[in-house]
């Protein structure tokens, strides 16, 4: 496998050729880069010495561990990763009879389908072919959506830095992997609780351990399938829920869930203009129809009024004519009567 850093700008164009050869993506399962690396944390071997914490600080050039490594008080509270501690070991169960205390190491899980990368509006993350998820601070605007999105609470932010804050997280010691070395924590672990290797090999190793010691392990490898799988794999002797790892998670990659709605967006852009112009035309037409109706009813009212007026006029004329006739008749009658009187 060639260990070259993949370009992260122009991903859309660069992947066009690959897309041309692939079948349609809707029902496709993506296996991830073949032969990529991962780490296996066997919590049944972990004794909580925190050598990994110290080594992580050293190889990443971070201030050394604040609490002394041999101070058991540090386990009284559950800690999380911060911008200066990229990995921490917590004690989840105290010693109980035969069983030793149970510890688990926290750090970025380097998801097969990273949701930090999916939600980044600046495309500041990449999933390298070697396995590590890398963050490029030179592209980051500091929205912290990645910190909010991570289901493993693994990302931290430099809130103290006023002008150039960065997201801080485990890099799986990408540079050391390129040099052919192991990540700092795996090299430092005195108990062999952290195994570095190709992910597919690690899954085989983990299965083999479960097969050989069925009483020692829960029959599950956390990270094999959860949310599409992670590069870090965890073996446990107690139910994973007791290690603050959620049980029964879907195997669907979280990025698929997170982006499922975005498919609607191009539909809104392309359907709305036609739909809304239709509604606009509808309201315009309703307006025109009601205007025409108004005109028509006005016309009808006018016509009716006209008719009434005509009738009134006609009857008035009629009456006038009758009155005239009556007056004439009266005058004639009167004249006749006077003539008669004169004739007598």
């Amino acid at each position: 496998m060639t260990l070259t850093r993949r370009g992260f700008i122009g991903g859309a164009l660069g992947s066009a050729a690959a897309a041309a050869t692939a079948e349609a993506g809707t029902v496709r399962h993506f296996e991830g880069h073949p032969g990529r690396y991962g780490l296996l944390h066997d919590t049944t071997l972990c004794v909580g010495c925190r050598s990994c914490e110290a080594a992580c600080k050293e190889v990443n050039g971070l201030p050394p561990v604040a609490e002394p490594l041999d101070d058991p008080a540090v386990f009284d509270s559950v800690r999380r990763t911060t911008d200066t501690s990229l990995t921490v070991v917590n004690r989840y169960l105290e010693a109980d009879g035969d069983r030793a205390p149970v510890y688990r190491k926290l750090q970025c899980m380097h998801c097969n389908e990273p949701c930090c990368a999916t939600v980044c509006p600046c495309h500041a993350f990449e999933k390298t072919p070697e396995g590590p998820v890398l963050y490029h601070p030179e592209l980051c605007m500091g929205c912290r959506y990645c910190v909010m999105a991570c289901p493993y609470y693994a990302l931290a932010y430099e809130y103290e830095d006023p002008l150039t804050p960065k997201v801080m997280r485990c890099t799986m010691c990408y540079d050391r992997i390129l040099e052919g070395k192991q990540p700092g924590c795996a090299e430092a672990c005195p108990m062999g609780a952290i195994t570095f290797g190709r992910r597919e090999d690690l899954i085989r190793v983990a299965r083999e351990r479960i097969r050989k010691f069925p009483d020692r392990y829960v029959d599950h490898i956390f990270g094999e399938h959860e949310f599409g799988g992670t590069s870090w794999l965890v073996l446990s002797g107690v139910p994973f829920g007791q290690l603050d790892l959620e049980e029964g998670l879907t195997t669907e990659p979280l990025p698929a869930i997170a982006t499922s709605y975005l498919g609607v967006v191009p539909l809104v852009i392309t359907i709305y203009p036609g739909l809304l112009l239709g509604m606009y035309a509808f309201s315009k037409r309703r307006e025109a129809v009601s205007a025409a109706e108004r005109e028509e009813s006005v016309a009808r009212a006018l016509a009716a009024a006209e008719e009434v007026t005509q009738q009134k006029l006609a009857s008035a004329a009629d009456r006038a004519a009758k009155d005239k006739q009556k007056a004439i008749d009266m005058a004639v009658k009167k004249a006749l009567a006077e003539a008669q009187k004169g004739g007598e």
Binding site: G142, Y157, P165, R286
Partner: protein
């Protein structure tokens, strides 16, 4: 508020009583304090000013300024679509104020983002340097940038009428329908995608608030919030600028009853789809938990109650009741966005890690709102916002 009225009566630069009105003094103190806190934020970092943590990367500035601000500014697209696309001409007297409120609301969103982002000067990076099209936030950023421009253009007719630039006024008037359609497209997209931003957190956001329908919940509640906000804004501005208002009290009241009717139906739909969400994801049994009680407070007290109040207010023509319902709705939307952003977020982490905003975060938020109010007042005192310019009566 009495002082604002006096200013409205004499639209000189500083108002009748000069620079030192009580309104100006209080606003000045709030703004100066906000500027000082932002000074601390950009010299000593977010840690010195906010209670944000690695577990709660988003706090009040996102939960209020962005999430609530965008929802409450929805009145702009709702009223302009009603008037220009659906032919409801009777609402025309309130469109300008709603659009201006919308523009200032989105301006506030950008201000909030500039304070909250780690490196705010990189805000244009998604468009000029490195695009992340898989991110719901990329979609929101794209839409907000475009919609802010649309709202700005939609608000310019008042400026052109004020300055007497007839050619420009005619030009923007001719773009009314296109801009309204574009505004409705962009609003539908980003109002819903703001909800879709939380679809990435099915384990971190409490299942009662998390839903595969959350984009629809956000869109519908934003329409209700927009309508309620138009009523609230009218309640304040018609008192403050009553000298400018040309329409009669009766006509203004009947506009408000129309808005109340719309809000009643929208809140009813919102209540219904929230119930559908419970059924779809089979979360009925969660209602019996402590989180369920809090969820019911939000759903019954701040969705169903205002829905019923709006219904009664519309049936019985009670303006005050409609205004009470509008205020409850506005508070309810903020409560919902707060619940989703930081109250019901990380619900399964041990108690004692929860986020409570610092006084400086609250102060800066109040300062941003004050800034928007001051700008609204400055514009409404000068430009034809609350009334129609005599030269442009009845024109788009």
């Amino acid at each position: 508020m009495t002082d604002v009225t006096m200013d409205a009566a004499s639209p000189t630069i500083w108002g009748r009583s000069g620079l030192l009105t009580p309104f100006n003094v209080i606003a000045g103190i709030i703004l100066a304090g906000g500027a000082a806190i932002l000074g601390i934020r950009f010299t000593q970092g977010l840690a010195a000013t906010t209670n944000l943590s690695h577990t709660y990367p988003w706090g009040l500035w996102i939960g209020f300024d962005v999430m609530s601000g965008v929802a409450l500014a929805a009145g702009g697209f709702v009223t302009s679509s009603a008037v220009y696309l659906f032919g409801m001409k009777e609402y025309k007297p309130i469109v300008r104020a709603a659009l201006l409120t919308g523009f200032l609301g989105y301006f506030l969103v950008v201000l909030g983002l500039l304070a909250d982002l780690g490196r705010p000067w990189r805000l244009p990076y998604p468009f000029i340097k490195s695009a992340g099209p898989t991110s719901p936030l990329f979609e929101v950023a794209l839409c907000v940038a475009l919609y802010l421009t649309v709202l700005f253009i939609e608000s310019t007719p008042a400026v052109f009428e004020w300055l007497g630039l007839k050619w420009w006024r005619k030009l923007v008037g001719s773009m009314t329908i296109a801009l309204t359609i574009l505004g409705l497209i962009l609003s539908t997209m980003h109002q819903s995608t703001l909800g879709a931003m939380y679809m990435v957190a099915p384990t971190r956001l409490h299942p009662l608030w998390y839903s595969s329908h959350i984009p629809v919940h956000f869109f519908v509640s934003a329409v209700a919030a927009g309508l309620a906000m138009v009523i609230v804004e009218g309640m304040i501005s018609h008192r403050a600028f009553h000298h400018q208002v040309q329409i009669s009290q009766d006509r203004f009241a009947s506009i408000n009853f129309g808005l109340a009717k719309g809000a009643a139906v929208t809140l009813g739909v919102y209540f219904a789809i929230k119930m559908v969400g419970l059924a779809t994801e089979d979360e009925w049994q969660l209602l019996a938990t402590g989180w369920g009680a809090w969820f019911l407070v939000e759903l019954l007290g701040f969705v169903l109650l205002p829905c019923l109040l709006f219904t009664v207010a519309y049936r019985e023509r009670r303006l005050t009741l409609a205004r009470v319902a509008a205020v409850i709705t506005v508070i309810g939307i903020m409560l919902n966005r707060f619940n989703i952003t930081f109250v019901a977020f990380n619900w399964n982490l041990p108690a004692g890690q929860s986020y409570v905003p610092s006084w400086m975060e609250i102060w800066v938020t109040v300062a941003f709102i004050t800034f928007a109010v001051v700008v609204f007042r400055w514009i409404a005192n000068r430009m034809p916002i609350m009334y129609e310019h005599p030269d442009w009566k009845g024109v788009h």
